[in-house]
Amino acid sequence: MSVLNWIYIAMVSVAVILSVVRMIKGPDITDRVVALDVFTTITVALFVFFAMIFDRYIYIDVALVYGLLSFIGVLVIARFIERGF
């Protein structure tokens, strides 16, 4: 791997660890939900990065699944918190 990939790995790892720290510390439920949303958004980039590292471009389909469906998972909890259903 080149130097640029190592810099990318370091930045994404720090972002993932920070969002998990917020999920552990977060005093309220809304903090944890926002942390889950941030975590999913970062992880989609990580899926695409793995597809590039392994040189198999068909792996990007998995990233597409998370990009479409993570919205619904957050929406379920948000609608529950505002007494929606």
Partner: protein
């Protein structure tokens, strides 16, 4: 790559402990969703894209919705 899998597995164990120790059941379900996401990443690292996609499509929305409906019908927090 081995460094990335170390980080992910340590985070996964931490989130699993969190999801069974939190008193608020909704927060426990949120932590469970994060565990499912990290497991999907590990499946992709182990070169199993089919299984990673199954875990993604089930764990992203359906499992969380089923738990939330169960909590909605019963109690919100564990006493």
């Amino acid at each position: 790559m081995i460094l990335v899998s170390w980080i992910l597995i340590v985070l996964m164990i931490g989130l699993a402990v969190l999801s069974i120790e939190l008193k608020n059941l909704i927060a426990a379900v949120v932590a469970m969703g994060a565990v499912s996401l990290i497991i999907s990443l590990l499946f992709l690292l182990l070169q199993a894209p089919d299984v990673a996609m199954a875990e993604a499509s089930i764990g992203a929305a359906l499992t969380m919705a089923i738990y939330i409906i169960g909590v909605r019908e019963t109690e919100r927090s564990e006493k």
